[in-house]
């Protein structure tokens, strides 16, 4: 167990190393910070001063070392726009995002498992067809567009929910739905098909032969087996939501989380801020992946930790 955790954290460090390196390469070599951060009218002297101030006139490997050194000391640089520690700014925006992702994904997971199981009980019947169809729709709608539709319908026309911002508890409903939609579709389809597979297995027949009730057979025996593949996929979706789709949902709904901050940083060419966000999210993603491994292990005892 100890060795496993050690190895998993080691893998996580490799991921973070990779992400930091990519961030470094992208911002320092492919892009030209002076060009994007200074106004077009800046003189060569101003550019040189800027480069010197950020250490951009040093050799690349020295810059790379400095970059790492900063990260080790919790110094992700200073937000160019806000004139504050980029890490600090990112951390203040983080809770809103975690809240949105948690609510959205919890909703997605519960709904997907419920409808996936119901559909699998009678494959080919009306309910199954409806679930399959709406799942396909869910994962085919662009989230930003779905968000806009939800705003027009429930925010503007019906006035049930706030159109934008984070005022009040009901504000989270629409963005959470928009964030959850593709995950509901994808997860429901996986739950459905793995439920159908599992329901055809011999152990389910054994359970029925033992005279167990439907709830015990389907809700306990079969579901646990069917959840194993769904959990892996769901984990990827949580990561995808956190490390991407959340940006577009937050932008559409004016949800001031880390995704919105990332978007603002792109518009404002605030690269220090953006790289702090990317690295921070990478760390969270590593943590989520480890957590998912443990959940998988809880579901399937055959998976040996450390294997």
């Amino acid at each position: 167990m100890g060795r496993y955790i050690f190895r998993r954290i080691g893998q996580g460090l490799i991921v973070i190393f990779g992400v930091v390196s990519v961030v470094f390469v992208v911002t320092r070599i492919v892009g030209d910070p002076a060009k994007v951060m200074l106004p077009l009218t800046a003189t060569d002297a101003q550019r040189a001063a800027f480069d010197h101030q950020l250490g951009l006139d040093k050799p690349l490997f020295v810059q790379y070392g400095d970059f790492w050194n900063g990260i080790f000391h919790g110094n992700f640089g200073e937000s160019y726009v806000r004139k504050q520690s980029a890490l600090h700014v990112a951390l203040t925006y983080l809770p809103a995002t975690l809240e949105l992702v948690f609510v959205g994904m919890a909703f997605a997971g519960l709904l997907a498992v419920t409808i996936g199981v119901l559909a699998a009980l009678r494959p080919g019947r009306l309910l199954d067809r409806a679930v399959t169809f709406f799942s396909l729709i869910g994962l085919s709608l662009p989230q930003f567009w779905l968000g806009l539709l939800l705003i027009i319908l429930f925010g503007v026309k019906l006035g049930w929910f706030p159109v934008s911002g984070r005022q009040g508890a009901s504000a989270i409903v629409l963005p959470a739905i928009a964030l959850a939609a593709p995950t509901v579709g994808r997860t429901a389809m996986v739950v459905r098909s793995s439920m159908i597979d599992e329901l055809n297995k011999q152990y389910v027949l054994t359970a029925e032969a033992k005279g167990l009730g439907a709830w015990r057979r389907i809700g306990v025996h079969t579901l646990r087996n069917a959840l194993a593949p769904a959990v892996t996929l769901f984990g990827w979706d949580v990561v995808r939501a956190l490390a991407g789709f959340d940006v577009v949902v937050e932008v559409v709904f004016g949800w001031t989380g880390i995704g919105h901050l990332a978007y603002d940083s792109i518009l404002g060419q605030d690269f220090t801020q953006l790289q702090a966000i990317v690295i921070l999210v990478a760390i969270i993603v590593v943590v989520i992946n480890i957590a998912m491994d443990f959940i998988y292990k809880l579901i399937d005892p055959r998976v040996k930790v450390g294997a």
Binding site: N200, Y203, L205, A209, K210, G211, L212, I299
Partner: protein, 338 residues
């Protein structure tokens, strides 16, 4: 349908002493597939009385496992019961009327052990959980009581250190051990009838003998009836009193085991015996039955065995022989019996 009526008339005359535990009466099972309707079981009848051990013998595809599944109410689409009846102590287990009876009986009074112990256990739950859930459901035991009883059951089926074993997962069990655990589950509520659907096919030869011994031993100790489904007549010999031979979805011969072995009358039974190694005739060469069983989506109008039969006469191709009383306790479906 004339054949079925004949069977009923005949059986009514004979069986009025005690109602059979399980009675399969002119059962028909169809599988609706893309390539056509497969008639897996075609008016097969079978009775098992309390404490009796019956063997249902036939090659793969003859419909014997389907019959067992149907009896347990475990038939799944595309399989469907489309005729006949299944009765438990005289009352039907089919339809809306039978559903509640089936619920009360299945897993408690009537239980089954399947062929493949490797897939018959849920891989994600401990053996203990899978064993105690039967006790808790049918006998209303609490967790502690069920655990005690579960350990006794594992002990009964010859699993050592049962308390530790209960906490293990199926993948920590060997094939033979799993089959023992499954037998323990089927015995949990002390059933009156145990259906064993080729319980040894998936096991090593040495383990096979152990499992058969175990079933015989438990049968004697608990006095339960056994329906042993197998393609191997060797398995039947030491264990059962009566044999039913199934071919192409029908019972073609039935009788006490000694009489059947000594004097097989149906050509198929004879072929089956000739292809089974027997301890009393070591020198004899084993002979197979030439040809294959008919395709069950279009069974022949006459006797299904005619194609492969050495004693085929004209009548065999046009008319299907009916299972009729031959002599004491024996039944036969062959034109040569008349």
């Amino acid at each position: 349908m004339s054949d079925a009526i004949a069977v009923v008339d005949e059986s009514k005359g004979r069986r009025d002493t005690a109602a059979p535990l399980l009675e399969i009466d002119r059962l028909r099972v169809d599988f609706v597939l893309r390539r056509g309707v497969v008639h897996a079981v075609r008016a097969a009848s079978l009775q098992i009385h309390p404490g009796e051990s019956v063997a249902l013998v036939g090659e793969s595809g003859s419909g014997k496992s389907v019959t067992a599944l149907a009896a347990m109410g475990l038939l799944k689409l595309p399989g469907k019961i489309c005729g006949g009846d299944i009765r438990w102590k005289g009352d039907t287990l089919l339809g809306a009327a039978g559903a509640s009876r089936l619920r009360a009986v299945r897993g408690k009074r009537l239980s089954i052990v399947f062929q493949d112990p490797m897939t018959s256990l849920n891989p994600l739950f401990t053996v203990g959980v899978q064993l105690t859930e039967v006790l808790r459901r049918h006998l209303g035991m609490n967790r502690a009581q069920a655990n005690v009883r579960a350990a006794e059951l594992l002990d009964l089926v010859g699993i050592s250190s049962p308390h530790e074993r209960l906490k293990q997962y199926p993948h920590e069990f060997s094939g033979g051990m799993r089959q023992r655990a499954l037998i323990a589950m089927s015995l949990a509520c002390e059933p009156e009838l145990l259906i064993a659907d080729e319980p040894t096919t998936a096991l090593d030869v040495t383990i096979q003998a152990q499992i058969l011994e175990l079933i015989a031993d438990i049968r004697d100790r608990l006095g339960l009836a056994v329906l042993m489904i197998t393609h191997d007549l060797g398995v039947v010999a030491g264990l059962c009193q009566r044999v039913c031979v199934m071919y192409a979805g029908k019972i073609v011969e039935e009788g006490p085991i000694d009489a059947m072995f000594a004097d097989p009358r149906h050509p198929y039974t004879r072929g089956l015996l000739a292809s089974t190694p027997r301890p009393d005739s070591v020198a004899e060469r084993l002979t197979g039955i030439p040809g294959n069983p008919p395709a069950m989506d279009a069974p022949p109008a006459g006797c299904a065995f005619a194609e492969r039969c050495t004693q085929r006469i004209e009548q065999c191709d046009s008319h299907d022989p009916v299972l009729v009383q031959a002599d004491a306790g024996r039944k036969l479906a062959c034109w040569h019996s008349n």
